[in-house]
Every structure is written in C-alpha cells, then in structure tokens.
C-alpha cells in the first residue's frame, strides 16, 4: 500500500475521520485493528484524542485516513468539537451489549449532523459482536482471551470472564434490526463489528471511502496549496454559511484582534 501511495502521490486523498462514542465501547480498539491489525491489551487511555494514520486503497485511488480517536468520558465532550471540526468522516461506535451506548451514539450523530462539516459521512458501528455470537467457538475465544478482554481498555465493566457464554445472545441489548433501522432513518452507514476478531472493521473504512465525495476533495485540493483536508472543509464551511463551527471561528477572530 505504501508503494502504491508513493507511486501516485497526486492520487492520494487525505480524509479526516473522527471516532466518537460512549466510554468503553471500543473506539481505540477499532482503530488499532484497522491501523495495525492487532488487538493490544493495556493501551493508555485517550487523553483528549489520539491521532493515527492509515492508507486505504479504493480502486485506483489511495485514501490516507487521518484518524482522531477521541476520549469517551462524558466530561471530555466539550472538547470534541476541536477534533471533529473539518472532519469528512465519522465513525460513531456503540456497544451491542450496552443499550445506553446506542442512545449516546444517537446523540453524537445528532450533534455531528448539526455542528460538524455538512458533507460529513457518518458510519454507525455496533462493536463487540464477538460477545453475542452464538457459535461455541466465539464463546471459547472470549473465555480464553478473557485476560486480554479485562486488560483491554474497552472491556465491558463488571463482566467477569466466567459470564454465561452458554447463552451469549442474552448479553445483547441492542438488536441488529433496531440499530439498522435507526441508521437507515438517519442516513448512516451501518456495521456490526468486533475489534477483537476483526469482523467488519475494514468494511467500515472501505464503505466510507466509497461514499466520500472524493472528487470534491480533490477539486478543493487543487485550488488550495496542498492542504486537502482542511482546505476542503473550510470551503464547505464557507459555503454552508455561519452555522457550522461558529464557536471555532469566534475565538479565532478575537485572536486576530489580540495579536
């Protein structure tokens, strides 16, 4: 992939993507699986946001994802606009074993649709499906990897390794149908994923890549001085009127006066 990217630098499109969702749904694990295809225990918690990049090939094009993995704790919420401003894509993650996490996801979607870049592509990801898959193998996996699970930043709290794997479906609190219906209604891409097994992870990013208005970004890149991401988004902001990122713009304006 790296070779392809360097071979067609002009074709490489930079896409800013932000991950949002309630604490402990597995945002960081999703990114880690996508970026380095691993499931790493004991990752430090995300303070503010972590920043990673990964390239993704789509037909003859290469997308360079700039991924902002945000902190999930509620009190970091007021910092989130700093990270989702100018983002062209967002993955909103919830935990299929935790009903409240879908509610939080909905509220993120609402916020993105009103506050973020108007052309933003949003994907909804129901993570941790490995915990609810009925096949006995997945049950065994969870048990054997319980160490990882407990150490993993995103382990469901209170869940003991010995929890009833005999009836994994009972862990599920959000049905696929319910979430899918919501995603359709709100115009989101929808996936059920498992960062642990890797299920559905790459699909999220390729589907997003297909949906991103690449021509639009490229067009603005040519216009701007090689600043694809921010340039494109900024144009978007300019065209869409003052409603977007008002709060980001205001202090900037004042800065200008101060110095």
């Amino acid at each position: 992939m790296a070779d392809a990217a360097s071979g067609s630098v002009d074709r490489s499109v930079q896409v800013k993507l932000v991950l949002l969702g309630e604490a402990a749904v597995g945002k960081s694990s999703v990114v880690l699986r996508f970026v380095s295809n691993e499931f790493q225990p004991n990752k430090e918690p995300t303070i503010g946001a972590a920043f990673l990049t990964q390239k993704c090939r789509l037909e003859d094009r290469v997308l360079r994802y700039e991924i902002w993995d945000t902190a999930g704790q509620e009190r970091f919420h007021s910092l989130a606009p700093m990270y989702y401003r100018n983002a062209q894509a967002a993955v909103v993650v919830y935990d299929v074993t935790k009903g409240s996490s879908l509610e939080k996801a909905k509220s993120w979607v609402k916020e993105l649709q009103r506050q973020a870049n108007p052309n933003i592509v949003i994907a909804l990801a129901g993570n941790k499906v490995d915990l609810v898959q009925s096949s006995s193998s997945s049950g065994n996996t969870s048990t054997s990897e319980s160490e990882d699970e407990a150490d993993d930043a995103t382990a469901t709290p209170g869940e003991t390794p010995g929890s009833p794997n005999g009836e994994p479906e009972s862990l599920r609190q959000v049905s696929r149908e319910e979430a899918h219906a919501y995603a359709t209604e709100a115009g989101l891409l929808f996936f059920e994923t498992s960062a642990k097994t890797g299920e559905g992870i790459v699909e999220i990013f390729t589907e997003i890549a297909k949906k991103i208005p690449i021509e639009h970004i490229l067009a603005s890149t040519r216009g701007g001085a090689g600043r694809p991401g921010a340039q494109g988004a900024r144009e978007g902001v300019g065209r869409q009127g003052g409603d977007v990122n008002l709060d980001e713009n205001q202090p900037k304006g004042r800065d200008a006066c101060n110095c």
């Binding site: 509620e74 009190r75 970091f76 007021s78 700093m82 509220s107 609402k110 930043a153």
Partner: protein, 1002 residues
C-alpha cells in the same frame, strides 16, 4: 437529558489573603468554629538569617514574615529566592535576642534544633504586637497537643532516616534505590512512607540519573536547612530540584514542596476513614475508575501486579468520594499512577487533592473549564512570545490544544518518557503551575523551524511525538566540544524554559486567566445550551431557536434561584428508566417550585408583577414574583412524572401545550389545568379556583372589562351548572329541583364550561389569542458574569455594581424622587388588550383626557408602595362597591370613575353590575360557597388594579390638579404627552405600547 450547571459562573477571584495561602502552599483555613476565637493574622517586615551550620552561612534576606496560625511563613522581597512555611507546632523555643540596642530579633528553634533568626524591622510597637500574637498562636498549638504530634509524624518521612543514618544510609542501598538487605531493611522501611518504586524499582537508570550524588547533596542541604515540615527553601533548593530529585526522596519532596504534607499532617487518619467509607459503595466514578486501572502507566511493573492496581484504585476512589463534585476524570489515573511510584497511598491521596484543587483548579471538573481556560491562556502567551509561530498556526488552521491539552492535563507524563516527565513534575511542584506554560513554550520554540513547515493538526502531532522520543539525545551531536555534546535535548528544553520564558510568572497566568475566563464560561454555556436543546426528546412545535430561549429563561431562573442540591442532578425516577445503568450523562437537572416561579415570571406576562417606577431620575421596571395557586397548579400540571420537580423537557412540552393553541384548545387546556382529578368534570370548588385564576391573570389589566367578564362567568357557570344537574323531587314541596351536591363532587363538564366561556366576548378573546400570547419567549438579557477586568477600577466598579447596591441606589433615588414629588409607580398589564378606559362615563369625568393614564396620575403622596395609601384605596373601593351596586347607572363622578365601583357602573348597560352579579351568584349557593364567593369577591376587590393605584379619592386628585407643587409633575406629564400627542386614544395606545415594551432602565 442534560445537566444544567451554573457552577463555573460562580467563580470568585481569590482575595489577597487567599493568594497568600496559595503562595505559601498552605491548606486554606477552615471556617472558624462557633464560640472559638479566631487567632489573629499579621505580617511584618523582617530579615531572615540562618548562620549556625558548619560555617557555610547563608546570606541574610529581607522580606516579610507572615503569622497565619497555625503557620509561620516567610518570603524574601522578590518572592522567589527564599521562603519557608513552618507549622507552629514544630517550633520549640522562641527567644528575644539580646543584641545591640534598636535591633529587635527573635530566635526560633525548631524541634530538631535548627535555629532561625528573624530580625523584625518594623517599628517597635508593631514588633511587640507581632510577638504577642505569635505567643498566643504557639500557646494555642500547645493546648491542642499539636506539639506532641510532630515527632510521630516526621517518622513517616524518609528525610529523617537520611539525616539520622547520615553516612551509613546510602551504603545499605543499591544504586537503583531499592534496599540492599531485605531482612534488615524491612523494619526500618515500615516507619517511613514510600511508593511502589521501593518494591518495583524506580524508572530510569540510577547510574545515569546519578542518584547517589544527588542523595548526598540533598542530605547536606536538609541537615542544614530543615526538612519535611521545617524545610527552608533557599536558592540552592530550587537548583537542586531543577537537576532532578533523587527517586527515594522524590515522593517526600513533592509532598513538602507542594504543601500536601501540611494536609496530611493536619488530617491524620482521614485517608483510612475514607477507605472504610468506600467499602460497599458504588458510583459512576468508581465504574469509570475501574475501566482505567489497567491502562495507567501499564509499562511500569508495579501496575502489572495486583498490589499497584489496588493501591491506585483505593487512592482514586478515596479522592472521588471526598470530592464528589470532581469525581473522577481520565488523566487523573495517570497522575495518581505516577505519584504512587514515589509515595504511599496516603501521601498520594493528599497530593492529588492539592493537584486537583489548588495547582490545577478546574482541570478535572465535569466541565473541565480549568483545562479549557489554561489552553486559551497558553494560546495567548504563545501569541505574545512566539508571534511568528502563532501566525503560522492561524494561517494553516492548526489548533494548538490538540497537542498541548494532554501536556497540561497529564503534566507531560503521557507525552514524554517518564524519567523526563518526572523532572518536569519536580519543577512543577517546586515552582508552581507556570512551569507547565514555560515548558510548553520552550517545546514550541525549540521546534520552531520545523513547526513553520507543518500544514495541519496531524503533522503538528507527529512532529511533537518525534521530538519527545529524542529528548535523551544530544542537543548538539555534531559539536566538537564534549561538554556541549553531553547536553541532552531535555536539558536544553529546561534551559530554554527557565531562561527564556522566565517572564511568564504566576501573575502573568493569573492575569491571563482573568482575561479569558468569561470567554470560556460563555462558550461552555453556549455549548451546554446547544447540547441541552439538541438532547430534548421532542421540541414540540418550537423551533430550535425558541427552545433555546426557553433554555435561557430556565438558566436565568436557575442562576437566580438555584434548585436545592438534592434536586440539582438526580437520576430520573426509576419508572422512566429503560436500562439499569444510569451513567452521568443520563443525569439531568430538575428544578423545584422556587426556580419554576422565577422561570415562569420570565416567560408569562401574568406570572410577574412589573412596577413601572418613575422618580424623576430614571424610569425602571421593578419585577416581583407573585405567589399564587395558579403557578403551583401549573407546576404540578407540567410535572407529568409526578416527581415534584421539572426538567427542561417537562417545561418545553408544557409550554408546547399552551403556546400554539387555538380558541377551543385553549379552553380545554384551561379546563384541564383546573380539573385536578382529570375526570372531565370540575367540582364547584374547582370552578371557584378557576375563577380566582382568571382574576389573578387579569389583576393588572386596565379598565374593568375583565372584572365584569369574570363575574358574569361565575354567575353563568353556576346557573348552567345547576340547571344541568340531575333533578330530584324536593321531599317537602314536591317540586323538582337540582340535586344538592357536595362541593367536591363532579359538577361542570368541558362542554358546559366551553359554552359559558363562549357566551362572553371578552373571555372568548382571551382564549382566542391572549392566553397563548401571554407566554412570550424573549431573549434574556445577558447575565452578569464574574469580573472581567483585572484592573483596580474594574474591580471597584464591580463592587459598586452588585445587585444589592443597585437596589440601594434605586431606593435612594426613589426617596429622592418622592421628596421632589416625581415618584410614580404603575403596574404593567399582563395582557394589555384594553389600553384605555372605554366607558363613556369615564370620559365625562372631571379629569382632562391627558390625566386618564394611571402611571401619570400617580400623585407624589400616593405611591403604591405606601401601604397606608393602598389601604385607604381598598377601603374606599369596598365602600363604593356597596354604593355602586345600589345605584348602578349613576356615575359616581370625579376621579372615582377610575375605581372599581365605577367599572361596575360602566357595565350597567350590558347586564348586572359586578357586585350584584357576585352577590346573586353567592345567594344561589349553599353556605360554604357563599363564603368562597365572598372570598373571591374580596380578592377581586383587593386586586391591585392599575386604576386602584391611581385614584385615591376626589380630594387628592383635586389637590393634584390645583396644588402648586404639582405643577411640575403636570408639566412633565404634558411634556411627555406632547411627544405622543395624537389625541386621547392614540396617545393612550402609544403609551400602553410603550409600557409593554419598556425596558428596565439600567
């Protein structure tokens, strides 16, 4: 679904005394206990000298000695070279020195025999006073038995061990700081507090860190200059800190330098008690803590073992239990994990307390306002000190805080390799929070060239990440000078931070924080508002903007009348819960009755009493909040979850239920509001309550039209109501008659009510539009924020312009206005449909048309506030009512046409006069109703109609007309009228409009 918090608004700038406490790292003084005399505080000019130890005497420093019981503190004049904070209980002896005449010197001996000599350079009487206060404070400490605690406490300090075993100590340790001989080492180890590092080793290579020589230097310093509780901080102390604290001593020095040791000293046993309290408790914070335990410095061996994890858990839980308003915030786990390597749990607990409360105020609070504020401050100092870089960031739209926020929030611990981060933390505890800014600026400056090349946030972050991995490399790898080559990037960083950014002082940061605080508060509040509105389950028919206005009004009400704490953020009642876990974001703000009243007064014109006051100097509107059953009724009507409190959602839905109604819907709404048991019937009692609600809503209307309408309504309601009752035969007469009903039995249904209402044009028009229209969503004027300007004048103005002082000023100007005869008051009507008195008879009164308007008619002697006047007005009204009813069509003449009885007269044409109607209604009812109706009538008469305020009796009106003194007033009235001179009705309309749109004069 949202918590509305006014916490950040209530910030108060610290006083000079509080700043002193902060400067000396002392715990803030506890509030004085009742019946206990507070020990006096004092400061005095003094010269400190310390000269006994082994010939290397320190210079004498001039400065200030502060007596802040139970502490004695000193700082040199530059406030940085020399300072100490001594608990008085460590002082064993104070002697006045027999020196040369004119020199007033004290010798203070500490418990370990160190002698501190202070020469008091103030005038003799001042020095004498200081000495006597010092004596009292010391005596107090002795009586409390504090002196005895010192020895036990210092045993927990490693420094004492260092001093005691002077030369032998370093020998029983390995280079890495762990004890050489476990068997012999253990007993002595129990005595002093230490961190996980003692067991799991300290990070870094001890040889590279030159632990041994550092320990030696510190041992010497501590022996001569005091240690732990008695440390005197001379310039050498700061220098030693800047080269890095030795690992074994680090925990204790952090404690001493930050002052958290004083907290631990003053609160023995508290940590253990908290641990007891924790048992069996659960909370949202505990849950959050649990998630992060295994990812706090996971690479450190101590946190791969249960010992480290459980210590971390206990410290964080204890903190969140003691500080429920902070609870737990991610990043605190990293801090706690870091300090636990060097400290015992108890030490770490108190250090965390000092960190979150004093050193990084507001950083970890639920709004994280402190973090946001300091990011703003950092941006501002970058703009000032590195303008080119700042401009570049602006031009490529890079946000500084994407990188710098974690630096500040975790004290660089998760940005840099630990060994380097801990050295920054050393300096941070020694020199204060400005270190974070200085280091941040130095990082940017050193990387300046490369930073000018970056194009976006991602590039910025990558560059920073790369730089931090090279901190241990040589800063001048190509230099031929081996000394220069030996300088690492990290050393260079500290050098730049403390040399080139020494201009960033604590004062700079305080001033910048003052400058930006309001901006942060505003942006946080508008963010909270947007979230709250967005999270509404339904906005009904309101637009986003209108919902925002509702939020504003509610926010203002919460500021003015904060809901009781138990209501402030409670989880919704269990019946509404869909899931069992209710995390913090499910919490929501609920308001009680008091807040609701303030809120309603914002949005409903009839839920407030607005007095328009003119006193010759200013025109203003005094708003008061009336108390009425209708308001309570509405509160419970909207409280659909029956929890005795309302959420923003309840209020939005409630308003949605009334503000968009048409005639029929409004009638039904009003009916339902009064149908308490929701059975579709009003009882007789409820019909009366409903009528009272009418009267309450109409209480300030001009004219008597509404009064008549209500009285007609009551007559009709009871007439129709009775007629529709099932008939029964009277056992005595054999005639059919309505069945007698108890007053609490179903009586009037919606259809009948509707019919009665529609029979009256005035009520119909009220329900058609006025009721919905009486709810108005208007922008709430900006609330006052804590002081913006840091300068003296700004503070002064802030002191003047408090609400209390404004009230005093208003009162004063009112009094002045009264004495010069220009004080006038009028009530603003809630509906204002009838803008003038339309009765023809009224026009025939002796008054000229220009005098018809209430607020201009107010004579100086007749202010409504004057209770005597209003009482006489009531008396007058009730008597004339009696008269009026007997002679309805007769104009009572003169200004009395403006009083209630005249209004009855005015309506004589279209039916029975008011009082007649009332009495007929009363006579048709059983006794209890009669009483109720009478009560209603009294209320009706007592209602402070605008006109009541106007006319007192003919005489005073005549006085007003003819009195010489009043000419001025009339002149003014005329002048005022000329502006609106369009004949009577137009002028009146204009005026009424003016009144409705009148803004309070500021």
């Amino acid at each position: 679904m949202s918590v509305i918090s006014t916490q950040i608004r209530n910030f108060k700038e610290p006083t000079r005394e509080q700043l002193n406490y902060v400067f000396f790292s002392m715990p803030p003084p506890p509030p004085p206990k009742l019946g206990e005399e507070e020990l006096e505080k004092m400061e005095i000019n003094a010269v400190l000298s310390l000269g006994v130890a082994e010939g290397n005497a320190e210079d004498a420093y001039a400065g200030k000695l502060h007596l802040l019981p139970p502490y004695l503190a000193f700082t040199s004049l530059d406030r940085k070279s020399v300072r100490f904070t001594l608990p008085l209980s460590t002082i064993r002896r104070v002697e006045r020195l027999n020196a040369r005449a004119g020199v007033y010197a004290l010798s203070l001996a500490t418990w370990h025999g160190m002698k501190i000599i202070v020469q008091l350079t103030s005038l003799r009487p001042t020095a004498d006073l200081f000495c006597s206060l010092l004596r009292n404070a010391l005596k107090d400490q002795l009586q409390r038995g504090q002196m005895k605690n010192v020895k036990g406490f210092v045993k927990t300090c490693y420094s004492e061990l260092l001093i005691a075993s002077t030369s032998s100590s370093p020998e029983n340790e390995r280079e890495d700081g762990s004890l050489l001989d476990d068997k012999d080492g253990v007993p002595s180890e129990v005595a002093y507090h230490g961190g996980l590092g003692l067991r799991f080793k300290f990070p870094g290579d001890p040889r590279k860190l030159r632990e041994a020589s550092k320990i030696k230097l510190w041992t010497t310093y501590l022996r001569n200059h005091g240690r732990n509780l008695t440390l005197l901080r001379y310039p050498q102390c700061t220098r030693l800190v800047q080269v890095g604290l030795p690992n074994r001593l680090r925990g204790e020095m952090w404690e001493t330098l930050s002052g958290s040791m004083y907290l631990r000293y003053a609160n023995p046993g508290m940590y253990e008690n908290l641990l007891e309290e924790i048992k069996g408790k659960t909370s949202q914070s505990f849950e959050d803590i649990e998630k992060d335990l295994h990812r706090s410095l996971p690479e450190y061996a101590g946190y791969q073992a249960e010992e480290g994890i459980s210590a971390l858990r206990r410290v964080l839980q204890a903190y969140s239990l003691k500080n429920p308003d902070v609870g737990y915030c991610q990043a605190m786990n990293i801090l706690a994990a870091a300090i636990l390597i060097f400290m015992s749990e108890e030490q770490a607990f108190w250090l965390l307390e000092v960190l979150c409360d004093r050193l990084l105020p507001g950083y970890y609070s639920p709004t994280m306002h402190g973090t946001l504020l300091d990011q703003r401050v950092f941006e501002s100092v970058v703009a000032k000190t590195l303008p080119i870089l700042h401009d570049h960031f602006m031009s490529v739209d890079v946000q500084l805080s994407v990188a710098s926020l974690p630096w500040f929030l975790s004290l660089y611990i998760n940005s840099m390799p630990m060994v380097f981060a801990f050295r920054i933390v050393d300096c941070f505890f020694c020199m204060g929070p400005k270190v974070l800014f200085q280091v941040g600026l130095a990082i940017l400056k050193i990387n300046g060239e490369k930073l000018l090349q970056i194009q976006d946030d991602g590039g910025f972050l990558n560059l920073m990440r790369d730089y931090f991995t090279t901190l241990g490399d040589s800063a001048h790898p190509n230099s031929t000078d081996p000394r220069a080559k030996a300088i690492t990037n990290f050393q260079e960083l500290l050098l730049v931070a403390f040399r080139e950014f020494a201009l960033i002082t604590d004062e700079t940061i305080l001033a910048e924080r003052r400058r930006f605080r309001n901006e942060i508060v505003n942006s946080l509040e508008s963010f909270a508002k947007r979230s709250a509105v967005r999270n509404l389950h339904t906005m009904g028919r309101f637009t986003k903007n209108q919902s925002g206005l509702i939020y504003d009004a509610l926010y203002k009400a919460i500021c003015e009348a904060p809901p009781p704490p138990e209501l402030a953020t409670v989880a919704p009642p269990p019946t509404l819960l869909t899931t069992t876990d209710a995390p913090l974001d499910r919490m929501e703000t609920r308001v009680g009755m008091r807040t609701f009243q303030v809120f309603l007064s914002e949005v409903a014109t009839w839920a407030r009493d607005e007095k328009i006051v003119l006193n010759g100097f200013q025109q203003r509107i005094d708003r008061e909040i009336p108390e009425h059953e209708l308001i309570h009724r509405l509160f419970f009507f909207w409280d659909t979850s029956c929890s005795g409190s309302l959420t923003l959602q309840d209020i939005v839905s409630g308003l949605d239920g009334v503000m968009f109604n048409d005639l029929m819907e409004n009638i039904e709404w009003y009916f339902n509001l009064h149908d308490k048991n929701k059975d579709g019937y009003l009882t007789r009692d409820e019909v009366l309550t409903l009528s009272e609600s009418f009267l309450f809503i109409f209480r300030h209307e001009v004219g008597d039209a509404y009064l008549g309408a209500v009285s007609r309504f009551m007559t009709n309601a009871f007439e129709y109501g009775d007629a529709l009752l099932p008939q029964e035969e009277n056992p005595e007469t054999g005639e059919m008659q309505p069945k007698q009903l108890e007053s609490n039995q179903p009586y009037l249904n919606l259809a009948t009510f509707r019919m009665v209402v529609l029979a009256d044009e005035i009520l119909e028009s009220f329900f058609e539009a006025d009721l919905s229209g009486s709810f108005r969503l208007e922008p709430v004027p900006d609330l006052e924020l804590p002081t913006t300007s840091g300068n003296f004048l700004g503070d002064l103005w802030q002191n003047i312009a408090t609400a209390d002082n404004k009230r005093i000023f208003h009162k004063f100007s009112d009094e002045l206005g009264k004495t010069i005869g220009k004080h006038q008051i009028a009530y603003r009507p809630a509906i204002g449909r009838y803008k003038s008195l339309e009765e023809p008879k009224a026009r025939e009164s002796l008054l000229s048309p220009s005098q018809m308007h209430p607020q201009r008619m107010e004579s100086p002697a007749q202010s409504v506030g004057d209770s005597a006047a209003s009482a006489s007005s009531v008396g007058n009204t009730s008597t004339s009512t009696l008269v009026g009813s007997s002679a309805p069509s007769q104009a009572t003449g003169g200004s009395s046409s403006l009083t209630v009885d005249a209004s009855a007269a005015g309506h004589a044409g279209d039916g029975s006069p008011t009082s007649a109607a009332l009495s007929s209604a009363a006579s048709a009812l059983p006794a209890p109703h009669e009483r109720a109706v009478n009560a209603a009538r009294t209320l009706l008469e007592r209602t402070p109609f605008a006109i009541d305020d106007v006319g007192d009796d003919d005489e005073s009106d005549l006085d007003l007309l003819h009195g010489e003194d009043d000419d001025q007033v009339m002149d003014e009235v005329d002048a005022f009228l000329e502006e609106n001179d369009q004949g009577l009705t137009d002028a009146d309309k204009e005026l009424a409009k003016d009144l409705i749109h009148a803004e309070p004069v500021k």
